[in-house]
């Protein structure tokens, strides 16, 4: 398998009035060609920062990209000039944002907005660009006559489909979808996800799917990374994470969601709250909420440890420095 995108040791922080927010700390992930990579985490974990960081859309200031590499087909995007990265955006890597209601320009017709990206990247006439636009609209099951309508004339699900059409119009290699269905109702979510899956297979696009919904990950992704407080705590194939989870945070996430398939009378939530990103705890970032935490967790920072050749975990339990036994037996 060839790696299409490799993010290596990306660290991004934001300077705010309340202090420096360490949004991403030394994050490494890799997306393989033709695969869907899921990134799971809760609010404030750094998911959107990562998505924007890959596109080099981090607002600077207040953002500050401290270090890291973003290798796309082996080429480091961090080293590109602004003009060169613009050729990548929309053409090689596209992005879908969370809220379809606000992601489209309200004063431009949807057709113009799709055609714009085609004209920008493809060397074709304006007329052909609109032909392509109509094709794309039909592809996401929106009648092409509606291309001269404005975003407010579409429902939420249709808007997200317009955005998908726009993102795929130049046949990109990688699609970054940042919570693409969070703002949608469950039936609409299913439609949109299904459509994304079909188009992904049709165009052989790789997808980086960012979400907080474990169900969406299970049904759509090949590989998964779990992110907590700006750090990847566990990553592997979807089976590794869902069937053989190792990190206490991942376990906590699963225990927190009511299971639709079996009856659990009581949930087992993770204690406490996400740490303040302006003053992250020393040691393992999760130790404040972890029932297995020992002194070593409070003082040392765990390394990424291999479980198998794909599955890696950042936890001292895996490093055999902390034992689960004493707690579970109590």
């Amino acid at each position: 398998m060839t790696k299409l995108l490799e993010v290596k040791n990306l660290t991004i922080c934001y300077k705010t009035d309340l202090g420096v927010v360490n949004a991403l700390n030394d994050v490494s992930i890799s997306v393989e060609e033709g695969k869907t990579f899921g990134l799971v985490g809760e609010t404030g974990a750094g998911k959107t920062t990562l998505a924007k960081g890959i596109m080099r859309l981090t607002p600077i200031p207040p953002g500050d990209v401290k270090s890291g590499q973003i290798l796309y087909n082996g080429k480091d995007l961090m080293k590109l000039e602004e003009a060169e990265i613009r050729k990548i955006r929309g053409k090689h890597i596209s992005m879908i944002f969370q809220d379809p209601m606000t992601s489209l320009n309200p004063v431009m017709t949807v057709g113009d907005q799709i055609a714009e990206v085609v004209i920008n990247h493809e060397n074709i006439s304006v007329k052909d660009a609109y032909v392509k636009t109509n094709e794309m609209l039909e592809l996401v099951e929106i009648p092409s006559e509606r291309s001269s309508e404005y975003p407010h004339q579409f429902s939420g699900g249709m808007k997200q489909r317009v955005i998908i059409a726009m993102a795929l119009a130049c046949n990109p290699k990688l699609l970054i979808a940042d919570e693409p269905t969070t703002a949608l109702d469950v039936t609409i979510q299913a439609q949109v996800l299904e459509m994304m899956k079909e188009l992904k297979n049709k165009f052989n696009t790789s997808v980086l799917l960012i979400t907080h919904d474990l169900g969406v990950v299970a049904q759509n992704c090949d590989d998964v990374a779990v992110i907590y407080a700006g750090e990847v705590v566990e990553s592997g194939t979807v089976r590794d994470i869902f069937k053989n989870m190792k990190h206490p945070y991942t376990e906590g996430l699963f225990a927190s969601i009511p299971n639709i398939a079996e009856d659990v009378r009581r949930l087992k939530p993770i204690d406490g709250l996400m740490p303040d990103p302006t003053s992250l705890p020393k040691g393992c970032k999760f130790h404040t909420r972890c029932k297995y935490a020992q002194d070593v967790c409070r003082n040392e920072h765990p390394k990424m440890t291999l479980v198998n050749d794909r599955h890696i975990v950042r936890c001292f339990i895996q490093e055999n420095l902390v034992s689960r036994r004493d707690i579970d037996e109590k």
Binding site: F97, S103, N105
Partner: protein
């Protein structure tokens, strides 16, 4: 679209009726008997009574108001108490000058204010931005007529570039004499428009669709003009429309400073001589002018913002 315009136009009628009625009532409250003012203090009571009947002053307020409106529609605003000249004729001479002044002031405000606001927003916290913000604060805080005095002091008296008063003749003469008054009238609004444009742009810059545009790989200049500006202009159009009323008010004072032959100076003179028909006529005409400018702005607004247009298509009124 034409349906929208007609509807807006029809909605204007009750507003104008209300506004003119209010102004008519105010004027009616003014002390002093018009008949006495016209005939002088020595006139005999019979003459005064006769004139009252002739002027229709013996009738109740509502009757007089509807007579006034009826005459207004026919283009008759009565005659001045002072010189017996038709008020309409006098206003007809002067209104174009006031309109020209207010419009030029608006032009100054828009042509200077919007680009300055855009640059300030794009280069937030730069030297340009900081200087602009200080200058606009000072301009917005200065009384327009005083700014006029300062311009006269500097450009007419010290540098001798422009005439200090009156209206020149011929195209070049008019333009030359228009420059200082236009800057005077427009300066406050220019400052306001610049600040509004800046904050509106900064608001738009934060929107998700700008991220979308960036993610498409568009050039920054395309993003600024195609995506940001059109959205940022929507709130500014409303402000500019409302400011036209301020400009008309400001013209009154500026005309006095520069002896500009407009309605403003006319109305101030009329007030001082208690020439009620002239005051009433001028105020009513200014209100009508303002309302029509706002109507135009409303239409422009619908043109720029597709949400308003389709709201209307759905058969709803917008406000």
């Amino acid at each position: 679209m034409s349906k929208y315009i007609i509807k807006r136009f029809l909605m204007l009628i009750p507003v104008l009726l209300g506004a003119t009625f209010f102004v008519f009532c105010i004027m009616d409250m003014s002390p002093g008997d018009p008949a006495v003012i016209i005939l002088g203090p020595d006139a005999s009571p019979e003459n005064i009574a006769d004139l009252k009947v002739e002027l229709g002053l013996d009738k109740p307020l509502m009757v007089r108001y509807f007579n006034f409106i009826g005459n207004l529609i026919k283009g008759d605003l009565g005659t001045s108490y002072k010189n017996n000249i038709s008020v309409m004729d006098q206003i007809r001479d002067k209104l174009p000058n006031t309109f020209l002044l207010a419009l030029s002031g608006m032009l100054v405000a828009v042509v200077v204010g919007i680009p300055v606001g855009i640059i300030s927003a794009k280069k937030q916290y730069s030297v340009f931005d900081n200087v602009t913000m200080v200058v606009t604060l000072i301009l917005a805080a200065s009384p327009a007529f005083w700014l006029g005095l300062m311009l006269v002091l500097l450009f007419s008296l010290n540098l001798g570039w422009f005439p200090s008063s009156g209206m020149g003749s011929g195209f070049g003469g008019v333009i030359k004499s228009l420059i200082l008054p236009a800057i005077t009238v427009g300066s406050n609004t220019a400052a306001l428009v610049a600040r509004m444009t800046r904050s509106s742009m900064l608001e738009v810059i934060r929107q998700d669709y700008i991220d979308t545009a960036r993610a498409k790989g568009l050039k920054e200049s395309v993003i600024t003009y195609k995506h940001m500006l059109k959205n940022a202009l929507i709130p500014i159009i409303t402000v500019v429309g409302l400011q036209f009323g301020v400009l008309l008010g400001g013209s009154v004072m500026t005309e006095t400073v520069f002896s500009w032959p407009g309605v403003g100076r006319f109305v101030v003179e009329a007030i001082k001589t208690k020439d009620i028909p002239s005051v009433l006529g001028s105020v009513v005409v200014l209100c009508i002018l303002f309302s029509f400018v706002n109507l135009f702005v409303d239409i422009l607004y619908a043109y720029v913002d597709p949400r308003i247009k389709s709201q209307y298509k759905a058969g709803r009124s917008s406000k």
